[in-house]
């Protein structure tokens, strides 16, 4: 998980997300003030370079950072962590 997590934090800090809240693994995207469209956008940004189909990622309302990382890890072709 250590490879993706720092990238995800960096994504969230920069435009278009510009999250200013503290980012933790347990935080929901709602906590981070990232709305549903933002979560979907983030999923695309993460999935595209890994060759994962973004439509395979589930994005429920209470999705946490960790839950997203778990899904990406599971679907990653080379088991990226």
């Amino acid at each position: 998980m250590s490879d993706i997590y720092p990238s995800l934090v960096q994504f969230l800090r920069e435009p278009p997300f510009e999250v200013t809240a503290e980012i933790t693994r347990d935080a929901t995207f709602n906590d981070l003030d990232v709305d549903s469209l933002g979560v979907m956008e983030l999923v695309i940004w993460i999935c595209e370079p890994l060759g994962i189909d973004p439509d395979d990622i589930e994005t429920p309302h209470n999705l946490t950072v960790q839950a997203l990382l778990d899904q990406v890890e599971k679907l990653s072709p080379d088991g990226t962590k």
Binding site: P16, E18, S36, G38, E41
Partner: protein, 415 residues
């Protein structure tokens, strides 16, 4: 003039002539053209345009996550921010349900639409941005203004092609006269200088082909004009009933005295050859303002620099005004044609003309077309005390809109 008169208390401009009212007005009055080669449309039959200069540097000032807004909405937000400040209003404090928003645009977020379509074809549907729809929709500038400035009153968008911004201002006037709002943020925004739109306008022969001399390509009323130059930008006017402005001590820049609209009902893109629709809109605006042609000191013309528009528009102006012959200018010589934003941008310039007693020159005119029998202001800005001035806007589809602005001097002591 009563407290029910509708006045302009704030202006905001984002134009190829500059960001902000002062910068834009100064360049327009100096008649310095803005057209230049545009790398984003390189390789097309027309590869020059009038861009808003250095706009990205102000993005951080228009609120959080501007990157999730299409460029046309970004323009509208920046213009609204300036207009609200200019009017001395505090959105945190205003009576939210009494504040309306009307924004015109011809194509909305077409830049985002084009980019994402390319992505769909290249990478497939799964990688489409989920923000495409909320960035693209033509009502979104009005919606985002309401969100940014807590305006929960009537919220509308207008789409009448290149008359959109003027239509929006006309609709705002109706809302205020009907008592539906105390304040309306009204104007237009456009960001259509994209490869597809530029190629499409070029294909229909609407654009100037003066590739060897782009700076002088936009030349309204000139004998050698050969089409318009694509521009972009936004203008927002703060409109309110005079009684409301008085109650908060605001000083009006001008009075929005009249609005006239008509349809050519003739052809999708060509104006009626006799300018009948334009004439009707002019007469209606004068009638709405309760004014006679001889009271009009100035017309900010639609003046696109196309052969047909300038000819038919000038004929309509000449017929309506008769021997009164007001001074006519087209600020598109400087800004290019900002399409759905043009009606609002030029309305703002007309307000500034009335307020400052100054008519900007039509840039790039070397020799006025002899078929155009108007007093075209060329060379340098012309000082003039204006009681009433008109702003013309016409759009594909045969939409014609004329706005009439009167001096705020008539308000003093008369209410």
């Amino acid at each position: 003039m009563t407290g029910d008169a509708v006045v302009v208390t704030g202006l905001g401009l984002v134009t190829p002539a500059g960001i902000g009212v002062k910068t834009s007005w100064d360049r327009v009055c100096r008649g310095v053209p803005t057209a230049a080669r545009d790398p984003e449309i390189e390789g097309l039959p027309v590869d020059f345009s009038c861009r808003v200069p250095d706009f990205d540097s102000c993005l951080s000032a228009i609120g959080r996550q501007p990157w999730r807004l299409d460029r046309y909405t970004q323009f509208a937000l920046a213009a609204a921010q300036e207009a609200i400040q200019d009017a001395g209003l505090e959105p945190e404090d205003w009576d939210r349900p009494r504040v309306g928003v009307v924004v015109g645009t011809a194509a909305g977020g077409v830049g985002t639409f084009e980019r994402e379509h390319k992505r769909l074809l290249g990478k497939g549907h799964a990688l489409l941005s989920p923000a495409l729809m909320p960035m693209f929709l033509p009502n979104m500038a009005a919606g985002q203004l309401a969100i940014a400035f807590h305006a929960t009153g009537p919220n509308l968008s207008a789409s009448t092609a290149c008359a959109s911004g003027a239509t929006a201002i006309g609709l705002a006037l109706s809302l205020l006269r009907a008592g539906s709002c105390d304040i309306v943020l009204a104007g237009g925004a456009e960001a259509m200088i994209t490869p597809l739109c530029t190629a499409a306008f070029a294909k229909m022969g609407a654009l100037s082909r003066r590739r060897d001399d782009p700076e002088r390509a936009s030349r309204p009323f000139d004998s050698a004009r050969d089409g318009f130059v694509m521009g972009e930008g936004a203008a927002i006017l703060v409109l309110e009933r005079y009684g409301h402005a008085q109650s908060r001590g605001a000083l009006p820049r001008a009075v929005l005295a009249g609005y006239g609209a008509s349809a050519d009902a003739h052809h999708a893109v060509a104006p009626h050859p006799d300018g009948r629709g334009a004439e009707l809109a002019l007469r209606r605006a004068l009638g709405d303002a309760g004014a006679a042609p001889e009271e009009v000191g100035h017309v900010n013309a639609h003046g696109t620099s196309t052969t047909l528009n300038d000819l038919t528009e000038s004929a309509a102006i000449a017929r309506v005004m008769g021997p009164a012959a007001p001074a006519v200018t087209s600020t598109k010589g400087v800004t290019g044609h900002t399409l759905g934003a043009a009606g609002a941008i030029e309305a703002a310039f007309t307000v500034l003309s009335v307020q400052n007693g100054l008519i900007p020159p039509t840039a790039n005119v070397q020799s006025v077309d002899p078929a155009i029998e108007l007093d075209v202001v060329t060379g340098a800005a012309r000082p003039a005390q204006l009681q009433l001035a008109l702003s013309n806007s016409f759009g594909f589809g045969g939409h014609n809109v004329v706005l009439a602005f009167g001096t705020a001097d008539c308000l003093s002591g008369g209410t």
